[in-house]
């Protein structure tokens, strides 16, 4: 007992040392974003594979053109002041603005823009796929992408395509940002075109300058005072690695972070009741889907696919599982595009499914498996599907895994059913979705068209393929629109192997005093105009 006073004194000292309770607030000129950086592997724009790195690069670099975050069809000038599509629709000429400087102080020229695009093709990393889809290759890169002078960039399309689509890609893909070629080449190692250096560095002209990235910890950037649009209002942007949703929530409530990405649905719902917090959702181009492998004899039968289509509880899933993840949508073309047809009205219809299964020779159902990511909402969709399949006698086992395992199996064509997410859609153009989800120009295994999800399911329709190809090059917008609508009707009739369930939305939770934070559908959210109203 004699020691009690000294113990109490020690406790009091510890408390006073640590500090009294006070509601923290982030500095008014800094933006602190809490998010998971688990998938942030490289800052190189050519190898960007996730939305996080897309958003970061959109603020370190500039692109030739941008898409308006609200009116997403509206292409706005950025580094390019103007552009013109040739009459034959086989080339696009961009006129670049003068006086733009990189963070290094080097002047930004059309040669840098050409070099940056050529680099993507020569390195053949993740984002080269979209350019290869337009016919660009490492071999034709230098002839098809040229800069005749410092302010002019000419892109010649190696294959006939819709030039609008290419412009949309230039506006939304971080592979199209302009790199400081001199700085990158000064850091080249063993002919890697600066790939190793760019993993943890940048060579951009964007509104923010990269400072430091401690992987799975923090990434810092400060404003670029020489930015051609004028210096951003924020002095610093910090991204902090936080994976636990409840920690994000507590830190938001305490005011220790300004923006939280990747919060769980219960936490987002709780934050909606907090008057100091704003919850914003932005629609993405991807869809959540149920995919069947037509390589499997059961699903090769159209009636079985149709039965599965009638065994998905679209309403239940969208009302209970998908809030803050997605919104009701059943078409392969993204919700809201002019070409998108009204919803077809698929619904859970067990008697119809049973009838179809009986006609297909499965009156008592069959056994199958559902591969799915172990995270919500995927696993919840799979669980719902498992229970509704059981209503028609289909005994489906759920095989949860990481994205790597699930999509790996899909790329290997070794699955029966997958609950997944995908479908292009970064470009607000039906071709982007259809190419990813439906198009399958060569169904042979050895073709290995692994970037086409249509190929992964082994579903092929020569009629649909031909129509997609025709629509892509159709110059008349009305005719093109009608063709894309016909593709959707055909896909409906032929019962495609990928059945969309929900259009993806991304939810961001932020402090109420933050202004001009507009989430972009293509993940290229710009922070240059963001400020805090205090």
């Amino acid at each position: 007992m004699r020691k009690m006073p000294s113990v109490l004194a020690a406790c009091a000292l510890a408390v006073s040392l640590i500090g009294a309770p006070a509601l923290a607030k982030t500095p008014s000129d800094q933006l602190i974003i809490g998010m998971s950086m688990n998938n942030l592997l490289s800052l190189d724009p050519a190898g960007a594979t996730g939305n996080d790195v897309v958003e970061i690069n959109a603020n370190l670099y500039d692109s030739l053109v941008e898409l308006d975050p609200v009116n997403t069809y509206k292409v706005m000038p950025a580094l390019a002041e103007s552009w013109a599509i040739a009459d034959d629709k086989r080339s696009i000429t961009f006129k670049l603005r003068r006086g733009v400087k990189f963070h290094s102080g080097n002047p930004l020229t059309a040669q840098d823009a050409a070099w940056s695009l050529q680099r993507v093709l020569k390195l053949n990393l993740a984002l080269a796929s979209v350019w290869k889809g337009y016919g660009f290759t490492a071999q034709n890169a230098e002839t098809s992408i040229q800069a005749p002078d410092a302010q002019t960039l000419v892109i010649r399309l190696p294959e006939a395509t819709d030039p609008k689509l290419v412009i949309y890609t230039l506006a939304t893909s971080v592979s199209a940002v302009v790199l400081d070629s001199k700085k990158v080449m000064a850091n080249e190692k063993d002919g890697d075109l600066g790939r190793t250096w760019l993993t943890t560095n940048e060579a951009g002209s964007g509104p923010f300058v990269f400072n430091e990235w401690r992987q799975k910890d923090v990434l810092m950037m400060t404003r670029f005072d020489g930015y051609w649009r004028g210096a951003p209002k924020l002095r610093r942007v910090l991204l902090r690695h936080m994976t636990e949703s409840q920690t994000l929530r507590l830190m938001l409530e305490r005011g220790d972070i300004d923006v939280a990405n990747g919060m769980s649905v219960p936490d987002v719902e709780a934050m909606k009741k907090n008057p100091a917090i704003v919850v914003e959702s932005v629609q993405r181009g991807n869809v959540y889907y149920v995919a069947m492998s037509v390589k499997d004899q059961k699903f090769a039968d159209k009636r079985v696919r149709q039965a599965i289509r009638s065994l998905i509880d679209y309403d239940g899933i969208n009302k209970t599982v998908m809030p803050n993840y997605g919104v009701f949508h059943q078409r392969p073309v993204a919700l809201g595009l002019p070409a998108t047809l009204p919803e077809p009205g698929y619904r859970l219809d067990v008697p119809a499914a049973k009838k179809l299964l009986a006609e297909a020779g499965f009156p008592n159902g069959f056994k199958t498996s559902i591969r799915v990511l172990s995270d919500p909402p995927f696993i919840n969709i799979a669980t719902s599907l498992q229970s509704t399949l059981a209503l028609a006698g289909i005994d489906a086992s759920v095989i949860p895994g990481t994205g790597n395992q699930v999509y790996g199996a899909m790329r290997d064509r070794s699955f029966e059913i997958i609950v997944g997410r995908g479908g292009g859609g970064a470009e607000p153009h039906p071709h982007s979705n259809l190419r990813s989800l439906v198009y399958n120009p060569d169904n042979r295994d050895e073709a290995k068209l692994t970037n086409f999800q249509g190929w992964r399911t082994s579903f092929i329709s020569p009629e649909i393929n031909a129509l997609i190809e025709k629509a892509e090059v159709e110059a008349d917008e009305k005719k093109q629109l009608a063709m894309y609508q016909d593709v959707q009707k055909l896909y409906d009739q032929q019962v495609g192997a990928i059945q969309p369930v929900s259009q993806m939305i991304d939810t961001v939770v932020l402090q109420k005093d933050i202004r001009n934070f507009r989430g972009h559908p293509a993940a290229t959210t710009h922070w240059r105009d963001v400020y805090k109203q205090r």
Binding site: T49, S129, V218, T243
Partner: protein
């Protein structure tokens, strides 16, 4: 006699040391081989982690070859061992950094956290265990046993979340996630990587105070598990000693209870205690993944886990090697301390 005995003694010692080093080398090699081959048969594809699930086949193949995955497994392992003998743990497939650089970056954060945690666990656990043993069956003993049971069986992430809600969100005593306020981040030059020590060395007492505010809660929660284990074991060891005849003799001789407990009984459990504290410390260094996740602590555990989930086997192998070395070293240190504290083992 002395001149004759000394060489014989030395050669025996040297032989023992050589044998021990050989065992350590074989243990580490076995550990690496198992990790390597298990890692390669796991259904995780590092190429997909790099190129993304939408990459086309030519990109996939290109990266697959760049990573050397087209070589037979034994060739890949051979290359790894060759590089390892040259002190090269390879590059992390994901971060592009040398694995050594990555580990040197994340490990000090874990050392700092684990050291404070084990200090908390030992300083609280040992007196609690002794108290429980000397009050066996009484209320104090029951309370300590309940505390130990809770500390041992309640999931650490639950304690973490509760700790954050109470001490961070409600009371504001603790820092939130991370090692320090972002406003202080980068103010102190990293010398040891241990933020408390670096800030003290730099005389940046405000940063020190802030870092202490951040580390106290996760360290105490992490230490809670060790504390429970150490308290239970201390109680058990002490009870065993207190029933020995030499304790009765000491009491009969008229020694005070304090002397009997601390100078006689406790001294005899020191060797066993050292072993369990050393192993508990090793477990903490291995990585407190859940606490690191809840508190967004940029440490070794979360680095190892995320590397494993992405199939980054160079990073995983480097981490496993380090864990192996930690445990081997702690065992060697515990063995050496046995000889200091227990004359019978000399």
């Amino acid at each position: 006699m002395t001149t004759l005995a000394l060489p014989a003694f030395s050669s025996r010692r040297m032989g023992g040391l050589g044998r021990r080093l050989a065992i350590v080398a074989v243990t580490l090699l076995g550990l690496l081989a198992m990790t390597f081959f298990i890692g390669r048969v796991m259904p995780l594809d590092p190429v997909l982690s790099i190129v993304g699930s939408d990459a086309d086949h030519s990109t996939y193949e290109q990266v697959y070859k760049q990573l050397g995955l087209d070589q037979p497994l034994y060739v890949q392992f051979g290359y790894y061992l060759r590089d390892l003998l040259h002190g090269d743990l390879g590059r992390s497939l994901m971060s592009g950094n040398p694995v050594t650089t990555d580990i040197l970056r994340v490990f000090p954060a874990t050392i700092e956290l684990a050291t404070l945690a084990i200090l908390f666990g030992t300083c609280v656990g040992v007196p609690l265990g002794v108290f429980a043993a000397t009050h066996k069956g009484r209320l104090g003993d029951q309370v300590v046993r309940v505390i130990s049971l809770c500390g041992y069986s309640v999931p650490v992430f639950w304690f973490g979340m509760m700790g954050l809600i109470i001490f961070y969100a409600w009371l504001g005593w603790a820092g939130g996630a991370g090692r320090v306020d972002l406003a202080y981040d980068g103010l102190v030059q990293s010398r040891t990587g241990l933020l408390l020590i670096d800030s003290a060395l730099a005389g940046e007492w405000e940063v020190f105070r802030n870092a202490l505010k951040y580390i106290t809660l996760p360290a105490c929660i992490l230490g809670l598990h060790s504390m429970a284990y150490i308290a239970r074991m201390t109680r058990s060891f002490m009870l065993n000693q207190l029933n020995q005849e030499y304790i009765i003799t000491a009491r009969v001789k008229g020694l005070s209870e304090r002397e009997v407990i601390w100078n006689h009984a406790f001294r005899n459990i020191l060797v066993q205690l050292l072993t369990i504290v050393a192993l508990a410390y090793g477990s903490l260094l291995e990585g407190a993944v859940l606490i690191e996740t809840v508190f967004a602590w940029p440490g070794f555990g979360s680095y190892l886990t995320s590397s494993l989930l992405l199939g980054d086997m160079n990073a995983v192998m480097g981490c496993v090697l380090l864990i192996g070395i930690i445990f081997v070293t702690l065992n060697l240190v515990a063995d050496a301390l046995y000889q200091v504290f227990d004359p019978r083992t000399r």
